[in-house]
């Protein structure tokens, strides 16, 4: 390019050439992608994973542990997730804590639908994940039959440490993938938080809501 004659028209042409170079895969573009990935990974995703805003959908005793997690002793603010929002429009992490009756399920589904992308779901405790001991006609046998779930937190109810581990599992997802929206995740990741700290992927659960 002619360096001496930098009219606006020439600058535009230079910009177009660099965009073409970006598409064709020259070294300049790979450096640019590396830089932008670096920013996205360690800048944007880092910010994003420490500003999860949970929506507490607490229907049972798991909700008490959820409150304990938010309170000063366990202090989920250390992980940047202390802003409990009771409006689905303002939150990006749905924590379903407790058993869900079948009559309640449309409400939960509507709340999930009202949340803006990107959004993640934690199914907290045995009842939300599997129905727990409430194997009756009126209780949903796992909310994952009806809506996507990203992380299951085991326990009856889970201790606050376990829930924090579940939130950290969401943080790992955010750190790794950024804002893949829920359509790309296809029904949620269905990972189970374990004591070893390794997230265990859960097999695809075909819908057998009864048994």
């Amino acid at each position: 390019m002619e360096v001496g004659n930098q009219t606006p028209m020439n600058a535009r042409a230079a910009a177009r050439r660099s965009v073409e170079a970006l598409v064709s895969g020259e070294w300049v573009t790979t450096r640019l992608e590396a830089v932008s990935n670096l920013i996205r990974r360690y800048g944007v995703n880092w910010c994003r994973k420490y500003s999860l805003w949970p929506l507490p959908f607490a229907t049972a005793c798991c909700g008490i542990e959820l409150m304990a997690t938010g309170a000063s002793r366990y202090d989920v603010a250390r992980f940047g997730a202390e802003v409990m929002r009771f409006s689905p429009r303002q939150s990006d992490l749905l924590i379903c804590a407790g058993r869900v009756a079948i009559k309640m399920m449309p409400v939960l589904q509507r709340i999930y639908a009202q949340m803006c992308e990107p959004k993640w779901v934690i199914s907290m405790g045995a009842c939300a994940s599997t129905g727990g001991v409430f194997d009756t006609y009126a209780v949903v046998q796992g909310i994952d039959h009806f809506m996507p779930v990203d992380v299951y937190v085991p326990g009856c109810p889970p201790r606050p440490e376990t829930l924090i581990e579940g939130i950290m599992a969401i943080q790992r997802i955010v750190d790794r993938e950024g804002i893949r929206n829920s359509q790309d995740r296809q029904g949620g990741y269905r990972m189970t938080v374990s004591a070893s700290g390794k997230d265990q992927p859960r097999g695809d659960r075909s819908r057998q809501a009864g048994e």
Binding site: I102, Y137, A138, V140, Q141, H145, F146, N181, Q183, G210
Partner: protein, 176 residues
Amino acid sequence: MAIRSVISALQEQFPGVDFRPGPLLPGRSNELRQICLHLPSDRLIEIMTFLRENEMTRFEQLSDLTCVDYLRYPGAANRFAVVYSLLSISLGHRLWIKCLVDDPAPTLPSVTGIWPGADWLEREVYDLFGISFTGHPDLRRLMTWEGFTAHPLRKDYPLRGQGERQNYEVFPRDVS
């Protein structure tokens, strides 16, 4: 004792009715003075109105209305008993009323005209036991969801349901 005067007032007013007064819990001592009467369903409204209005009884409050399923209960002649738990605030006594009904299509007259608070209680009994109350202003299901057809607190209803929880819509992933 106040509750004895209630029973004598009833027997005086309705001489043809056998109230079968007894303790609420059969086989237990009656130290708590929990007296249970049986009413025939065709005279339920008449006697209940008397119990509320009369000077000697004055049961202003219907504190509970529930139902018992006597299926496979030893010695039970009828399938259901609707139990009315009455409280007189001004006179300070309580009384329990049982009204026996039978399959098929168990039906009782509604007491919402006497105690308006019976509205949701009767809806609950209708929902969970399937006893319909004639004269109820709005007899819809209370606990279970729309489209539910069974009566889950009946003894012959299976705990896991009859497929109600399976036949439910899955939320599509792409609606967001």
